[in-house]
Amino acid sequence: MFNEKTIEEVKSANRKASSDATSTAFYNNPRIRGLFYQVALVAGLLYFFVTVIGNTLDNMEATGIKTGFAFLDAAAGYDVLMSLISFESTDTYARIFVVGFLNTILVSVIGIFFATLFGFIFGVAYFSHNWLIRKLAVVYVEIFRNIPLLLQVFFWYFAVLSSLPSARQSLSLGEAVFLNVRGLYFPKLVGGDLAWVVWTVLALAIGGVFYLRRWAKKRQEITGEQFPVLKASLALIIFAPLMAAALTGFPFTVDYPALKGFNYFGGVTVIPELMALSIALSVYTGAFIAEAVRAGIQSIPRGQTEAARSLGLRENKIMSLIIVPQAMRVIVPLLNSEYQSLVKNSTLAAAIGYPDLFNVFVGTALNQTGQAIETIFMTIIVYFIVNMVISFLMNRFNSAVSLVSR
């Protein structure tokens, strides 16, 4: 009791002292100091931007360029190498913006998919009991992580893809898939009248997988029996649409690429620019993801595996129930930044002429119209939003795998 009283006394004495404002100078008050620095910083930033924008506007006026987004409706007057939607040189700058955007998304999605695949394969391979596989993972990471990305893009584009044979000497796989210096060609499925049945069955099968997982989990909770969900899901997704196709008499025709004159036509064409950029981005980012996966797995203490083993769990169950769920909380934040880097790095497309957003808009469109502020601003917004979306999704994923403690 005696102690408590003295503490109270000291506290109240302190309170009195601090409320006595006259005892300290106002410039020593941390709040006022903080406020001052904030105001100074904001003022400085404002001054900077006003100057830069004002300057640019003056320059544009001097060269006779009007500001505003009216240029978007003008005909672009140039063609792009590759487009996911129809495009002609008489189309507008607005359309070229969309074309570029879709091309950026395409190469980013391909890149993220394969980078994740390579990353997880080589990241897990690092822990293989096989000496050769383990060393392969180390060599992969060390080579591709240590060479500049631009150099790798050039390597794939100029050294590898450009040395492929000409169209007439194409490398071919079963006379259906062709690879030559002008690109990769593979057949396309063209749906007939009843094709919708097959697509519907495929969609149902994918939905069925989710139902199957829930059913298997429920059944295990009630009876304790385990169900091979992965195998059953694969079988469902592969065989259900095949059955549907067989029953409807295969309502597809295959559009094979065929050599006409000097090149292949028909089927699906992947231009070498897209191939080179996709390969470079996935292999490069994959090396970093492999390191993230390795770090994630290594962050799990050995004791976790030992405890799981002493319970009698099998190695694959230890991986899926103990190691991976815990490793993910280390891997996911790293994956997030790797994905964002990949999207940003896709602007290296400009170096080999792949028509991504940066290349066709900040490159050609800016050059032709001189609308620097508008084009750059629009492009910045796109990359910003795309990466914000990635961040948002990955943060959602992260909070799902994060750990509760205290």
């Binding site: 295990q220 203490p301 004791g303 799981a308 002493s310 319970l311 009698g312 769990l313 750990l403």
Partner: protein
């Protein structure tokens, strides 16, 4: 499953014969011979690096050994996944650092084994888990995560997690060494209770009070070999070997 060798008594649940283990050139275990009867409580002590943890970790194959034989409950420890699994299901283990799964709740930590190894329905597994949580006196913590519990509570959960698998043998690898002094008692109490119920126990510990109270035999290891083994009374009052005497002096008189 290989039958145990002919000269062993059927009462022996663990038979270790001439076991040798090396880490590279380092000889960690030298000619270990040990027989443990059903229901026997054995305390293993010795200076750090003496191989005591390594020895009990061989019993459920967390460590491999190069020479000798090891038979647990009639199953010989050989390079055979089935044998190793059978033995691990039969042997529970409690670690110095608890090794609870931090991403699972206490209840999920306890039901993991019964659900995925014994293939029990969830409801039944949870019933068993709650029974053991009550035995270690923390049923109210069932839905918390390990990180939210004190060290003593975590270790009691770890004991309960092993017991959920209904093992015949329990291994304790310095179960109280990572605990604050005031939490040691609550863990030892659980272990004493377990011993009194007749569980076969091998316990690496320096808790000599525990050894005097429950052990049937105390084993002293040094330099990778069993130097001395005796009943606790004789072991503490009249150690035969110099090294044992020195060790006991060091840990008892401070």
């Amino acid at each position: 499953m290989t039958a145990i060798s002919s000269n062993s008594n059927t009462e022996d649940v663990i038979v270790i014969e001439n076991l040798n283990k090396w880490y590279g050139n380092f000889h960690v275990l030298r000619d270990i011979n040990l027989r443990v009867k059903k229901g026997e409580r054995i305390v293993i002590c010795g200076p750090s690096g003496s191989g005591k943890s390594t020895m009990i970790r061989c019993i459920n194959r967390l460590e491999e050994f190069q020479e000798g034989s090891l038979v647990v409950d009639g199953v010989e420890m050989i390079e055979d996944v089935k044998n190793i699994e059978t033995i691990r299901k039969d042997v529970g283990m409690v670690f110095q650092h608890f090794n609870l799964f931090p991403h699972l709740t206490i209840l999920e930590n306890l039901t993991l084994g019964p659900i995925w190894v014994q293939k029990k329905p969830k409801a039944e597994a949870e019933e068993i888990a709650m029974k053991y949580l009550e035995r270690v006196k923390i049923p109210d913590q069932a839905n918390k995560y390990p990180g939210q519990l004190s060290g003593g509570q975590q270790q009691r959960v770890a004991i309960a997690r092993s017991l959920c698998m209904n093992p015949n043998i329990m291994l304790f690898d310095e179960p109280t060494s990572a605990l604050d002094p005031e939490m040691i008692k609550e863990v030892l109490d659980v272990m004493i209770e377990l011993a009194q119920e007749g569980m076969t126990m091998l316990c690496v510990t320096h808790e000599m009070g525990f050894a005097k109270k429950v052990a049937d035999r105390v084993i002293f290891m040094d330099g990778g070999e069993i130097v001395e083994e005796n009943e606790p009374e004789a072991f503490f009052s009249n150690p035969q070997v110099d090294r044992t005497q020195q060790f006991l002096e060091q840990i008892l008189n401070h």
